[in-house]
């Protein structure tokens, strides 16, 4: 029984026992080591173990047969295609190394060698070859399966024809084997017909269809035991043209090599080299080579098979009859082939060709694969892929966006070329987290927020968006980052990175900010407007309801007369002047707003001394002159302690307190609201227009 082992076999060919021992020791435990002490022994080992050997470590200078001799043998038997060779030698001449690579070695290690390097290269080479072998086998398997199916259909079809013909059913099979054998012989002899291994396979398959036109011949003629009358023979002869026409009239597949070869074969397999065949009377190499070959195979099989009217002839008899021109003239080159491969033909026909053929098919396919001729399907996919990439990069270059792709392992950032230029970073950046220039672009907090957001997405909804400032070439600009997390397809899915883009939204963001500002600020004084102040005050009150707050409503006395005397422009100036004073008399967290007209509002938080704070504010706001106009302010103040902890009550009570001042006949001072002094709730100092806008804003 064969020894079953998972371990890869390595052959060490070196004349020094010491060297073999050192190498074996380096690889021991992981591999099965077999040794040969010269080239000839090495070749014998290769012969014996064949593809079981995963790798050869080969010395150059050896007695009996040197390393180059071994490589020559490995090329001769094509082992070099399947078994990788690493050459190890103290020879340093580049001509030696070059010659070794030309002979197909995978790697060259100079002596003295480093144990780690030898080990690593051996492992890498074995992995690489194993992968390539698996891929080749996979593709070959698929192609083979496909071909198997189509040959099966063709065989069934041609057997139907044969069955009607009363033939044994072996004719199609034999013609197939003969066609293939003769073609191979021809290929060995000459390359003048430009036949590839793939062609041989297609022509042999197509050969099964050579008599397909017989389906249109009446059965009485087809199966007539005796000789044909000239009329009958004329009808019989139409089968080649009929078969060709049937193929020509196929609605599709006209460009399939199988169909075009089958057409040639059907139409011209009764033509002869001297031009005396039918239907077209072609001569010499006017007859396609596929038809010439099948014609000979057809005749040979007819001669060596038993028919009602004749016994089977022997191979020699048949060859003699064909060479002697008894069945018409053939290409002299092909007559040579027929004579030369007599043994092969006998063996193949006896073995049924099947087993050996399929093996050879696979070998041929594998060989073709090596030459990349059969890879059209994947080439097409690659082309499509290339096209998509071209499309993508074209559109990417138009959009003026920074597009990026980040992978965790290896940590790498890839930018589109526009983005790379914009950010002044390379298009591919390894380890961006170690790259200070990349890090300086995006704020650390935003980075980690974005990373957190991406990590907490799911494969089902992997997209995140965030607006943030990026520092690009020293300038801070607002960007919108939209990114899609990549999740692996395994269970549970693993976060592998992201793709995304960053769009410059700086201008629109500024516009928006401007609009927001316009909506929340009074355009004349630059203070916040009443609606915005209300919103902020409510937020503050809700945020810390336990705090002590107060609201003051201010009214500029005699403002109407300022307008009347000096004009509205002057009135506006006075309002601005007062607003400026207010701005300077409040503390950071306080709010100063223009309620409307000549009325203003201040909201403040206090600890103990409300009176002190109010006195301070009032003294800075009221008094003095603007140009010739004396600034006098009346003010009503309400605290949350007195009025209650909500905006409406505060406003109403401060308004009431102001009303009291305004109607006291003594403007230019301020007044506190006290619960016990509360007056009719309908009275208000705030002008009706303001009261209205107050309604609206609520």
């Amino acid at each position: 029984m064969e020894k079953i082992t998972d371990r890869q076999k390595i052959l060490i060919v070196d004349d020094s026992e010491m060297n073999r021992a050192i190498l074996a020791d380096m690889l021991d435990g992981e591999f099965d080591i077999i040794e040969a002490e010269n080239g000839e022994e090495g070749v014998a080992m290769l012969q014996k173990h064949g593809p079981e050997i995963s790798l050869v470590l080969l010395d150059i200078v050896m007695p009996v047969m040197d390393g180059f001799g071994v490589l020559t043998q490995m090329n001769k038997y094509r082992w070099i295609e399947d078994i990788p060779v690493i050459m190890i030698s103290a020879e340093r001449g580049s001509s030696h190394i070059e010659r070794a690579f030309e002979l197909g070695i995978t790697d060259f290690i100079s002596r003295p060698f480093d144990a780690l390097i030898v080990h690593r290269r051996v492992v890498n080479t074995i992995l690489l070859y194993a992968k390539q072998k698996r891929l080749t086998a996979m593709v070959a398997e698929q192609i083979y399966e496909k071909e198997q199916r189509s040959s099966l259909m063709i065989d069934i079809l041609s057997h139907c024809v044969e069955f009607r013909n009363g033939e044994s059913g072996m004719h199609v099979r034999n013609v197939h084997i003969l066609t293939e054998t003769l073609l191979n012989a021809l290929l060995r002899k000459t390359d003048r017909y430009h036949i590839s291994q793939a062609d041989i396979s297609v022509i042999s398959t197509a050969s099964a269809l050579h008599d397909i036109g017989k389906i249109a011949i009446p059965e009485e003629i087809l199966n007539k035991p005796g000789k044909f009358t000239p009329e009958e023979f004329a009808i019989m002869k139409t089968h080649s043209m009929v078969g060709a026409e049937m193929l020509e009239n196929l609605p599709s597949y006209q460009n399939e090599p199988l169909v075009s070869f089958a057409y040639q074969i059907c139409r011209w397999h009764h033509e002869r080299w001297d031009g005396r065949g039918y239907p077209d009377g072609l001569a010499g190499d006017e007859i396609p080579i596929s038809a010439q070959i099948v014609a000979m195979a057809d005749v040979y099989d007819a001669l060596t098979s038993e028919r009602v009217y004749k016994p089977p002839f022997s191979h020699e008899q048949a060859v003699n009859m064909i060479v002697g021109g008894e069945c018409g003239q053939f290409n002299p080159l092909m007559l040579e082939c027929l004579e030369e491969c007599a043994d092969e033909i006998r063996q193949e026909l006896a073995a049924g060709g099947e087993q050996r053929r399929s093996q050879r098919d696979i070998q041929n396919m594998a060989r073709e694969l090596h030459r990349h001729k059969e890879l059209t399907a994947s080439e097409r996919s690659l082309e499509l892929l290339e096209h998509e990439r071209m499309k993508y990069s074209f559109f990417a270059s138009l959009t003026k966006e920074i597009q990026f792709e980040y992978t965790i392992s290896p940590p790498a950032l890839v930018l589109n070329s526009w983005g790379s230029e914009k950010l002044d970073l390379p298009e591919a950046l390894l380890d961006p987290y170690q790259h200070p220039e990349a890090l300086s672009i995006i704020n650390k907090d935003v980075q980690s927020k974005l990373a957190d957001a991406l990590h907490s997405t799911t494969p089902g909804s992997p997209v995140v968006q965030c607006d943030c400032k990026l520092t690009i070439k020293g300038e801070e600009r607002w960007h919108r980052i939209v990114a899609r997390a990549s999740w692996s397809s395994e269970e549970p899915p693993r976060y592998t990175g992201c793709i995304g883009k960053a769009m410059d939204i700086h201008n629109s963001r500024l516009q928006l900010e401007n609009l927001e500002r316009q909506a929340s600020h009074d355009s004349l004084t630059g203070l916040v407007n009443r609606a915005y102040a209300k919103k902020r005050i409510i937020e503050r009150l809700e945020d810390r309801p336990a705090g002590r707050y107060a609201m003051a409503i201010l009214d500029l006395d005699y403002f109407k007369s300022a307008n009347d005397t000096y004009g509205h422009m002057f009135g506006d100036e006075v309002l601005k002047f007062l607003a400026e004073r207010m701005r300077h008399s409040i503390r950071g967290g306080d709010i100063a707003a223009r309620v409307g007209g000549d009325e203003f509002l201040i909201f403040l938080e206090y600890k103990d001394d409300l009176e002190g704070a109010i006195e301070g504010i009032y003294s800075r706001v009221s008094g003095g002159v603007y140009k010739d106009f004396a600034i006098s302010v009346s003010m009503g103040v309400a605290s949350t302690q007195e009025a209650g902890c909500d905006y409406d009550s505060l406003f109403r009570c401060a308004d009431q307190a102001l009303y009291v001042v305004k109607h006291s006949g003594e403007k230019g001072h301020y007044n506190y609201y006290h619960k016990e002094n509360a007056i009719d709730t309908a009275t208000s100092a705030v002008s009706p227009i303001d009261a209205e806008s107050k309604e609206e804003s609520e």
């Binding site: 004349d15 020094s16 026992e17 010491m18 060297n19 021992a21 050192i22 020791d25 380096m26 200078v61 050896m62 007695p63 030698s89 103290a90 002596r111 003295p112 060698f113 480093d114 144990a115 780690l116």
Partner: protein
């Protein structure tokens, strides 16, 4: 005698050998094994009988092994001999070098022998 002292005695570079073989176990193992290698005997025989190709291969093998073991002195003389023999030279110069190789080998062998005895081998 330690392995390091053995290297010093045979004019070798212990650190370099560690660099190639990566473990003291391997260095020691192959130092001890060196005397069993037949290449030196083969070199002597073929130098005597005038078998130039065989002599070249034997010298070449010694050179390769010495390189990996970092036996610097023997590596130097055997490398020079290898190059002479590669050119087909078996004359006086080759004989002279051969004597050097023999001397270096003897010194190496002596050191290893001493180490082996102490190592209980």
């Amino acid at each position: 005698m330690t392995l390091k002292e053995c290297y010093a005695a045979l004019n070798g570079d212990y650190e370099e050998a560690m660099g190639w073989l990566r473990s003291e176990r391997l260095v020691q193992k192959f130092v001890l094994k060196f005397l069993d290698d037949g290449s030196f005997d083969l070199l002597c025989r073929s130098m005597e009988s005038g078998d130039q190709p065989e002599a070249f291969r034997a010298a070449h093998t010694i050179k390769g092994v010495c390189a990996n073991m970092a036996f610097s002195a023997l590596l130097k003389s055997s490398s020079q001999l290898t190059e002479l023999l590669r050119g087909g030279d078996m004359g006086d110069q080759a004989q002279e070098l051969f004597e050097r190789v023999k001397a270096d080998y003897a010194r190496t062998a002596q050191a290893i022998q001493a180490f082996r005895e102490e190592a209980g081998g």
